[in-house]
Amino acid sequence: MTNLPLWFIPLFPLIGCIVLGAIALISSGSKKGPSEGIVGALSVLFPALAFVSVVLLSFNMPEGGIRSTLCNWIDIPMFNVDIGFLFDSLSRIMLLFVTGIGTLIAMYSLGYMHGDRGFARFFAYINLFLFSMIVLVLSDSLLFTFLGWEGVGLCSYLLIGFWNHDVNNCKAANKAFIVNRVGDIGFLLGMLLLMTIGGSNILNYDALNAFINMIMGSAENANIVVLILSIAGICFFIGCTGKSAQIPLLTWLPDAMAGPTPVSALIHAATMVTSGVYLLARLSTMFVHLTAVLHIIVIIGMLTAFWAAVAGLFQNDIKKVLAYSTVSQLGYMFMASGAAAFDASIFHVFTHAFFKAALFLGAGAVIHSLAGEQDMRKMGGLLKKTPVTACVMIFAFLAIIGIPGFSGFWSKDLILERLYMMDWVVPVEFTIPLFNLHYSFEILMNQVVYVVGLLTAVITAVYMSRLIILTFFGSYRGSKESEAHIHEAPATMLIPMVILAFGAVFAGYFWADSMGIKYFEESLAPVVGAAQAVIHHSEAHVGAAVFAGLGTLAALLGMGIAWAKYGKARIPAAKGSSAPQGKMATWTFFWDYVHGVVITVVNAIAWVVDSCVDKLVQFAQWLVGGIAEILGDGAASFQVRKVRLQIALSIAGVAALVIVVLLTGGLI
């Protein structure tokens, strides 16, 4: 089955998008809308077909991957890019869970979106998203990846603003798109930078790797190239921060929860937001030579993970908690990438996709059963009323906080271990002039990062436990009449949730380091192994059991704290909006304020342009026009009402001319 063409994979969702889009468009005029059965079948069929073809291809994939070039895309002087696909172990992993989880979530959405006016439209968007995401991970060149990159951003925009009658949803969607655009410009500039040193061919991943290996092999002018590559790396990383919601471009992700919950699960938790991690892994050959950039990535990842985890503590909206949790977990992944543990970061992407999707779908089921209520303060005691949902969420919860045996444990443990093994020492030297004291010491950054990572794990456990306690334990805090309506979700929603819960529990066993299972690492080795070997690791390995023990301890500690604080405490009745107040708001919306400053500056400039510069231009225009008008009026006063005088004048003029000609002797 290896002869299955690669372009089949993106083709299926694309057909699905077109067909469903057409159905949505045609049926938009009718009152009733299209039959949900047909639309639902179609919308699950095409992602499923894509998934099947990925599976078929996966089994027979040769070691080096499959490459195929479809056709030429852009061919102009200085620039020639093909549309090509690259199916290797990295894209295989990504594709498997993108299409797999995509199919499951499409199925879940059948139940969730039941009865919505834009039923067909929703699935058209989902299919378009899957197409873009497949293109993103399957393409063999940066430019074609960029197509998917912006495509997923577009779908995210469309789906966040899906319920577009509410202006707030639209604003959230706009914010997501514009912030992503900022990152995308970074991506574009990164591509341009690469092209300046290697021409347009270098956009191809294989060519890029070959180029980097060649440059690094000859040490002569490596410095200047490394400088340019570093700038390009930073540009790409800016792109990643936009797409994967890292500091400073992360404000859009919590707002993106305005979209339907399946969308949050698929796009804003499992797949799209991890494309930044994918890109770093894809460009690992380049990044491992850029130590400075890697350090920046670690720092940013660390800050994001910590900040988002703390912000997650303050949220009352169940989806917002999960959103900040996603940001925090993405921070982990970036930390791992920064430590050049690309396989570990992809592994975390993999496990995270399962447990976070399960959490989101569970949250969606909760919201569904409570008829749209998202404030956790009004929930409680749902364990008995929706047992399946509760079980799914609790399994996923155990996975995310890193209880041994669950998938999150394996990946998080791995990341923390790799962070500790990082070889990064910052020498600090400073003197206090007054006392003439001279200090000189070294900060072992690997330990700092490790400690922050561990601390973040504790906080993660706290806020996730809070979520579970507030939602499923205690007693119901909502109004009485709403209590009667609480019901378990339909089967189409439950089946995907259960499957994902299984994934959340067992996905970790692909790479259970402590148990000696390294299937995942080995399968990724052809892509990132060589690159990772470049980085020098410190020898300060303490032993796997210590890391595992510390990680478990952190999770248990967090759970304990949460239980102590929220388990018995009386939850204050919900007042007003679910947004955090006071100092919590300052912390949560810190980056929104930063963005707000930028937006204000742009608006101020726009105001200056509109009210000053443009008025000035108009004034100049008016001035010229006015002068012309005055002159014209002056000239016109000679002109009107005196026809005979003018004839007389012209006769005199002719006479004068004749005299002149005569006197100058021109004629005779």
Partner: protein
């Protein structure tokens, strides 16, 4: 020599009646003097050996145009108005200017060498019609021009009728 005498007589009549046009108070008198001027000019054409033009001159100018003019003057009762002065300040400026111009042109003219040509053709009907309509011999230029003039006259007639007819629905008494 006889031709010169005839010419002087006709020329004096032509100039004199033209002056009458200039100086007459009522347009009707002006029109009648104009007829005299036209007639004497027709005579001069004959004298010069272009009888056909002379005849056309009498027919079109003296016959048609001036008749039309007279007719209009008589129809519009108020053609003679005592309010409108014969000359005004502008005229004081125009007359010297025109005189100076013509004086200059005349000055140049008299210095130009001019003489009658012996082989010149008599502008008879035959010659004229041959030139106009014998396309094979003289080329289509004049013929096309002739047709175009016909069109021009037709359109002028149409325009005149359109302009001068009383607008339907307008009441002259209102004005």
């Amino acid at each position: 020599m006889l031709a010169l005498i005839y010419f002087i007589i006709l020329g004096v009549i032509a100039v004199g009646s033209a002056l009458c046009v200039l100086l007459s108070k009522h347009p009707l008198y002006g029109a009648l003097s104009l007829v005299v001027s036209m007639l004497s000019l027709a005579g001069i054409y004959g004298l010069l050996g272009s009888p056909f033009i002379g005849v056309v001159q009498i027919m079109v100018y003296a016959g048609a145009i001036i008749m039309l003019l007279t007719f209009v003057i008589m129809v519009l009762n108020a053609a003679k108005d005592s309010k409108t002065p014969m000359f005004d300040k502008v005229s004081l400026f125009v007359i010297p200017a025109a005189l100076v111009l013509s004086g200059l042109v005349g000055f140049i003219l008299v210095r130009a060498p001019l003489a009658f040509d012996a082989e010149t053709v008599r502008g008879s009907v035959k010659i004229t019609s041959e030139t106009l309509f014998n396309v094979a011999q003289t080329g289509p230029g004049y013929f096309v021009l002739f047709e175009v003039i016909g069109l021009l006259l037709l359109s002028a007639m149409g325009a005149a009728v359109l302009m001068a007819k009383k607008r339907l629905g307008t009441n002259e008494e209102e004005k």
